[in-house]
Symmetry: C2
Subunit: 508 residues, 2 copies
């Protein structure tokens, strides 16, 4: 299944652009065309203005992308967005984002300057459309893709990336650990209009044949630069797992469930040395500053089950991540912090508050959290519950979880389910935290529902294709779905509350 034809999934949508202060700042939106409100006799009663929504899918879903930002990059010296913001400059990227988020460009600049928001965008990824991660802006979501030793090809991974952004993923992480890591990433980057994140440790370990003892700073450094040159926009770096934390993790029910965290723990234990990602951190900062790659400080000690949530290991690492944030900021590097994991609902706020305090309000980027350990096969929903909550409390980006979590690698349908469930969570968080105009689209669909504008109901929701398919599926045998139908099979015509409402209003 190729995603190239977005019209198939969003049939009444058009990509439109708003131009900024210069002609090459062209900000994409998806505009959803609505039907007229009709009178009972079929004549037009009201015109319904189209609804514009944030769009992540990029200029095309077919072929490599143009270098949108080539001129912007060429025009300025090697400064990061953080350095530009601190100097009081509003970069084209910041203006692009302000239009995209419908906010004042000065808000974008101020939040980036304060470290409360990041714009993950490598100088070597000119195809990328600028976006922002910070709690005063729309809650973002990330989709993980990537092969493992056990399967999937380059084309499949590019296709998964396109598929994820079609459904609304704001960034994509390539977590490949299998064959052709470099080529897979290259193909993804040249086709991807959103920031790409990676965990460079995976490739570094691959280079030494998976033997943790052979891992060295030189190999890691070479890998960082290789990926930086390709254009990776943010790096997960597990620099916060220290020797002193390993005994804390050994007391846990599940120990260390982060791949990066467990690799570094094993390295430290075998070598008897401190984590080289920690000891070499200033050197890492210098590399990331040069490309304006954003730190995503990995939570190597995230809890893998409820029993381990908010424990000494997790919070010990979080304190270290706060120290590293300061160092990164001193080097002009943008920084966000990764978070759990498995956390019961009543412990989520404590985790969020502690992150804001310990990491000086650097943006939080969490996986879930999952609010129970029992939901294998349904972990995308489990994660959406925790994600909605932590987004409301102040988390800036949610890493999606798919129905295959804990079981294996997701296929395309799993990616779609994972993205849409977390779009729901992120939007719920935006409504709750009061993002301006977040409810407009909800109000538009509710009015469409009230007025029996079925097509608009499908087109305004997160997954028009599925909604229409489900509607058709639930028609009684022998009946076809018609868009003019003034009831549905849930209640049938006589018991339709919407129909009765119209009668009541007409009589009032």
């Amino acid at each position: 299944m190729k995603t190239a034809n977005a019209k198939k999934f969003f049939p009444h949508s058009t990509k439109v652009y708003t131009t900024g202060s210069r002609p090459d700042i062209r900000v994409p939106f998806r505009e959803i065309e609505l039907a007229h409100t009709l009178n009972e006799d079929g004549s037009q009663k009201n015109f319904n203005a189209p609804v514009r929504v944030y769009d992540t899918s990029g200029p095309t879903l077919d072929g490599p992308l143009p270098a949108l930002r080539a001129d912007w990059i060429a025009e300025r010296a090697h400064a990061t967005q953080l350095e530009l913001a601190r100097a009081g400059a509003i970069s084209p990227e910041m203006e692009f984002i302000a239009i995209r988020e419908s906010v004042d460009p000065e808000l974008v600049r101020a939040e980036v300057a304060a470290g409360r928001a990041v714009i993950p965008i490598n100088r070597c990824h000119p195809e990328c459309e600028p976006m922002i991660i910070g709690r005063k802006f729309r809650t973002k979501i990330n989709a993980n893709i990537g092969n493992s030793a056990l399967g999937s090809s380059i084309d499949e991974e590019v296709e998964k990336m396109r598929w994820a952004i079609l459904w609304g993923s704001d960034t994509v992480m390539d977590l490949s650990t299998g064959k052709n890591i470099h080529e897979t990433r290259e193909a993804i980057l040249r086709h991807c209009p959103t920031p790409i994140g990676t965990v460079p440790l995976y490739q570094a370990l691959q280079k030494v044949g998976g033997d943790v003892d052979e891992l060295t700073w030189d190999i890691y450094r070479e890998t960082l630069i290789e990926q930086a040159e390709q254009g990776v926009d943010y790096f997960t770096i597990h620099a916060g797992v220290l020797k002193e934390h390993v005994p804390l993790a050994n007391k846990r029910l599940m120990g260390i469930v982060s791949r990066g965290g467990s690799i570094m723990a094993q390295w430290m234990q075998n070598k008897g040395k401190e984590n080289f990602l920690y000891t070499r951190f200033p050197e890492i900062c210098e590399i990331l500053q040069k490309y304006d790659i954003t730190f995503s400080l990995g939570d190597g000690l995230r809890p893998g089950c409820l029993a381990d949530a908010n424990d000494a290991a997790q919070f010990g690492e979080l304190t270290t991540l706060g120290q590293l944030t300061k160092t990164a900021w001193e080097h002009g590097c943008q920084t966000m912090i990764e978070g759990p994991g498995h956390v019961p609902m009543h412990k989520i706020k404590e985790n969020m508050d502690k992150q804001l305090e310990d990491c000086f309000e650097a943006p939080f980027y969490t996986l879930g959290p999952l609010v129970t350990d029992l939901a294998a096969g349904y972990d995308h929903m489990n994660s959406a519950i925790g994600g909605a909550l932590i987004g409301w409390y102040g988390c800036s980006m949610l890493c999606y979880v798919t129905p295959k979590e804990h079981l294996g690698l997701p296929n395309k349908e799993d990616v779609r389910e994972g993205v849409v469930s977390h779009k729901i969570a992120a939007h719920a968080a935006d409504l709750a935290k009061g993002i301006l105009n977040a409810q407009d689209r909800d109000d538009a669909i509710s009015l469409a529902r009230f007025e029996f504008r079925w097509e608009d109901q499908f087109n305004l929701c997160f997954d028009p294709e599925k909604a229409l398919r489900f509607r058709k599926e639930s028609m009684p045998p022998g009946e076809e779905f018609e868009v003019a139908q003034r009831y549905c099979s849930m209640c049938g015509e006589k018991f339709c509350s919407m129909r009765i409402n119209h009668e009541i209003r007409n009589q009032s």
Copy 2:
């Protein structure tokens, strides 16, 4: 697909019983057998005790059920559980529930006596296994079934009921509005081990050919008694929608979305009279008291979209429901209150707190709430987010929502998805509100995950069949899943954090 063979879906589970103070109090549990923890050489390291979980599926999923409670009912006068509790008696039903919930029988009695919990169980439904709805106990879930004018047969509805309780639904509402309402309900009741709820107004309206103007108290009263005699355990009664509320609802974006609410609003408007369910409420109480049917006071003015949440119409009705609760209690009737609907996350706590205050802590029973209007096709997840939150805040029962919400009637797979997603929400709520030992099963699955006991991981989760199927699906081509595998295809063997953990611990 017949559900009769529960072993297919829960292959390592056995139904076991705990006997109470008399031999006919036999409380069912599902016992999940676990594998031994093995050493690397395959020898046994630890025995893992089986895990007992709450079980709703009843004595059999094949054929009509025995009259479990016949003797208990015969032994006592026509007192309701509320009246018994007030008199200081611990009924066999209360003892059954205490064992089921692992609490002191006195807690059950005290909560019922105070009106903070209900035991919906009609004297004429002796097949029903007692259960309790109240916020000091496990959060319950309800599944709606029922035909509409547009489809589905009696056998299909019985099958949907069995299917819903197999997956863990605590009560089932039969919302049939189509043909053979009486016969469908009879078949469901005689096969159902959980409480059954209905909305008698639907059948009353059916009796007058769907013509709201022909609805009378006599027809409604006759319908109440007909359903009471069959054994319906709780009735949704929309007695709180008053004439004064209709103008408030007309100001809304979506008006009245409750079927019962819109029917009564139309009746009041056409007749110029007050809601007869309100004016005749004391007479209704007398009928319900006689059978010990629990009131589920309907929220005819629940918000159908975010824009209408927590508005004057909704809260006006809630105040009326509080008055009615007092009247019901005076008649010795057990009472719970129905709630929304569509409510953004930041307004859920206000709604919950107001319900507890206005309705004197009578149990709250909500549909969702859905936290966005945009999730057609995914509304079960949308509802699980709001449901988890309101359950944590004090809601006692969540009405499920299926993926077909807003689109049509659910099929069997939709029912399964709807039940399991709300089991996740209810369990998340139980963990957050601190239900004793709620986390035991989570801890058991986490240990199984850590120890690569794959079968236990499947068997302990909410849907073992799906988890195993997904695991097999995600195996690379040509490889078979083996339960002894010490990694999964998400990371592959080298990058498996669990494997690395074991190495770290072995070396420590």
